[in-house]
């Protein structure tokens, strides 16, 4: 049987057009900071990519800043926004959670949605300039946060808003609300790995983490990865263009799998099912079966899924996201995440169901 790849939230395969655009640049010489012809050509490519991405977010090019990853982008925002107080949601990615140890954690409900009342009460009490960092959609459960409401609260209390939109780009429409810092990653939308971006929607400044030659308007030093950002821009354009169509398709397939799972085993718990979710993600668990056992069985059957966020890994840790949602302990350890993407086919979906049926006969 052909391999089934349901791990797009960890990494999407690169889109052919992005690959072609990138490979063309990869073979070319030239440091974009050099003033000669080769340098200017590289610089032109870099700025063209910046312009393309900026336009998708309806901002001027100077408000798009490239980094080497979304982890770096998140770190930059959390450390460099100039805010003295930081509030994050309880289900943030490690690259937000692990950055500022003094950050205040806003709880989420059982569906994984942030407690807006709590956030409001918190913001009311703040005297110092506050940064609120809430991801647009969760990487493990796919749960979408009410970013419009959060943005409105931030505006009301004069707080800055950061959203890690890595898992939302290309999967749901963007908000029209003011977002001061939006970060996202190239390799989750079919762009090359090794590239992330910060969109500073309101033109707020960010202090650099990496210093040196003054690239990226002094905000991020280091020779720019022109090839990667070129591919990134192509992938972002495609992701934006096909978002609406992809939403319908993936949601249908995701629902198909979930419906089957629920029918096949009444004990299966689908996390965040009661909330708005991005269409490509399903996170579920069965009690008394560890995620590891399932992963090994699925892997042997040629199915790539994950037990959560693919990070330091090596060890399958209990999901902090599910814990924060109050998922019963018997379920937390056994969670599996399926995540689809731009090249997922319906055949993969039906193949998955038949493999699953073989592994876990109906009870």
């Amino acid at each position: 049987m052909k391999r089934i790849y349901f791990d797009h939230n960890a990494m999407s395969p690169i889109r052919p057009q992005a690959l072609t655009a990138m490979m063309k640049i990869l073979a070319q010489v030239g440091n974009p900071s050099s003033v000669h012809w080769y340098g200017r050509k590289a610089h032109h490519g870099l700025e063209e990519a910046r312009e393309t991405i900026a336009q998708l977010f309806k901002v001027t090019a100077s408000r798009c800043l490239f980094t080497a990853s979304c982890t770096e982008a998140n770190n930059m925002v959390l450390r460099g926004s100039g805010c003295q107080q930081i509030a994050i949601s309880a289900t943030e990615h490690e690259s937000v959670k692990a950055v500022v140890s003094s950050a205040h954690v806003i709880p989420v409900d059982q569906q994984g949605v942030i407690d807006l009342n709590y956030l409001e009460q918190f913001l009311k009490k703040q005297l110092a300039k506050t940064l609120v960092s809430v991801m647009m959609a969760n990487s493990e459960t796919g749960v979408i946060q009410p970013i419009d409401d959060i943005a409105a609260l931030c505006q009301r209390f004069n707080a800055l808003l950061h959203t890690d939109a890595t898992q939302a780009i290309g999967r749901i429409p963007l908000t029209n609300q003011k977002i001061d810092f939006l970060t996202f990653s190239s390799h989750k939308i079919g762009g090359p790995v090794g590239c992330g971006a910060i969109i500073t929607g309101s033109g707020e400044e960010i202090a650099p983490l990496i210093k040196g030659g003054g690239q990226e308007r002094g905000r991020r030093a280091g020779t720019e990865n022109v090839a990667a950002v070129t591919g990134f821009a192509v992938a972002a354009s495609q992701a934006f263009a096909e978002q609406a169509e992809l939403y319908i398709r993936l949601k249908q397939w995701r629902d198909e799998i979930e419906e089957y799972l629920l029918q096949s085993n009444t004990e299966i718990l689908i996390h965040g099912k009661g909330a708005d979710r991005i269409p490509n993600t399903s996170c579920f668990s069965m009690p008394h079966i560890t995620g590891m056992q399932q992963l090994i069985r699925l892997d042997l059957a040629g199915i790539a899924v994950s037990s959560g966020s693919a990070c330091s890994s090596g060890k399958v840790k209990e999901s902090a996201v599910l814990k924060a949602m109050g998922v019963p302990a018997a379920h937390v350890g056994g969670a599996l995440r399926l995540s689809f993407g731009w090249d997922t086919t319906h055949r993969e979906v039906s193949d998955f169901i038949s493999v699953w049926e073989g592994l876990y006969p109906r009870i």
Partner: protein
């Protein structure tokens, strides 16, 4: 247009070796999985490729694979080594020694440390660009935590006596960080006999891709760094963020090729450099070499057209890809701070040009460049 502009700027950026490009490609397309998603085989496969690359890099500098971590480039490596190294000393040692001709990212990291309350000594260099060992010995204090010195200067190509520095640092219990972005793959480096504790590597200076670099971090005795950023805890917690498998593979491949072809490259480059220097002296009798005449990397010629003092010579040579400073600061109009540190007055610094040669430079390019220079500068 492309054909006419001759590339003499290998120290700013090298082309990616076609063999490296070939190695990179499948890791972008066929084997794309997240190398940290080792829950499944595609992820494990990517992880193995990264470990293989780590081994290739370690092999080139005589290190162990576990002593290599990947970064986005030498700028990040230098930042991590200097900021992370000093911040990681827990306040016991608060003094850094470096030199005024270091790369901007080293100097800026050092200035950042000053803002954080650390003390930094910026030592001068001699008129030939080499450092003075006595200066270093005198600058060392009881709380000196680190010495940061580049092996090959990016602008003038002089090779510093890093062996000696390594010895001194080791005797005094001071960490030695070496920015080897311009030296790796070009000169023999072995971190153990050379007593290096931290060493920065760049991908796109050794025919690898841009956007990738590495930092060697000594394991015994262990060097501890505070990370620049936090997250998934990749690279043993020292550098979070998804590793770009294709770029890591590319850097590994570039290192392996460099190891195999170092001598061949060096001979090729040196003979071209001698040809270029000979011809330049012939055509421009008043030309001067910036930096030490012999203790220098063969791929660099930084020369001053003294008869054009006060003129911005770079601007007179649109058909040559050469530089007048390091690429990061090249967009600035200011004359090179490195040349000024050698004592060159501004008008001579402006009249200076760096030619840097590499693996794909050709003798006929040099002849063509000389003809062009004759036309433009005589």
């Amino acid at each position: 247009m492309e054909q006419q502009v001759l590339y003499f700027d290998y120290q700013a950026s090298t082309p990616t070796d076609p063999r490296v490009v070939e190695k990179i490609l499948p890791w972008f397309s066929r084997y794309f999985a997240n190398p940290h998603a080792i829950d499944h085989q595609p992820g494990q496969f990517a992880q193995q490729a990264i470990e293989n690359a780590r081994q290739q890099i370690a092999g080139l500098i005589g290190a162990e694979p576990r002593e290599i971590i990947f970064t986005s480039g030498a700028t990040e490596s230098n930042n991590l080594a200097i900021l992370g190294g000093m911040r990681g000393m827990g306040g016991r040692k608060r003094h850094l020694i470096t030199w005024v001709t270091e790369h901007k990212c080293v100097l800026e990291s050092a200035r950042q440390l000053e803002k954080e309350g650390f003390q930094v000594t910026f030592l001068p260099v001699q008129a030939d660009g080499l450092i003075n060992l006595q200066d270093l010995k005198q600058a060392i204090q009881p709380d000196t935590g680190m010495v940061s010195l580049m092996m090959v200067n990016n602008e003038i190509g002089v090779i510093q006596d890093v062996d000696k520095i390594g010895q001194i640092c080791r005797q005094q219990g001071i960490l030695f960080h070496c920015d080897a972005a311009q030296a790796v793959g070009k000169l023999e480096i072995s971190v153990n006999p050379m007593n290096m504790d931290l060493l920065s590597i760049s991908g796109h200076k050794i025919y690898g891709p841009k956007g990738i670099g590495a930092l060697y971090i000594r394991h015994r005795p262990r060097v501890r760094l505070q990370p620049l950023f936090y997250g998934g805890g990749q690279e043993r917690g020292m550098r979070s963020g998804t590793l770009p498998t294709p770029l890591c593979v590319g850097l590994g491949a570039a290192c392996e090729i460099a190891q195999q072809e170092m001598k061949q490259d060096a001979n090729h480059i040196k003979s071209l450099q001698q040809q270029l220097w000979r011809e330049l002296k012939n055509v421009f009798p008043s030309i001067r070499l910036n930096g030490h005449e012999h203790q220098r990397y063969g791929g660099n010629l930084n020369v001053c057209f003294t008869h054009l003092a006060g003129k911005k010579v770079l601007n007179m040579l649109p058909q040559l890809a050469v530089s007048s400073g390091s690429a990061c600061s090249a967009s600035d109009i200011e004359p090179s701070y490195v040349l000024q540190a050698l004592g060159l007055p501004k008008d001579l610094a402006q009249a200076s040009i760096r030619f840097s040669l590499g693996r794909f430079s050709r003798a006929e390019d040099i002849q063509q460049a000389i003809d062009y220079l004759k036309n433009r500068l005589l």
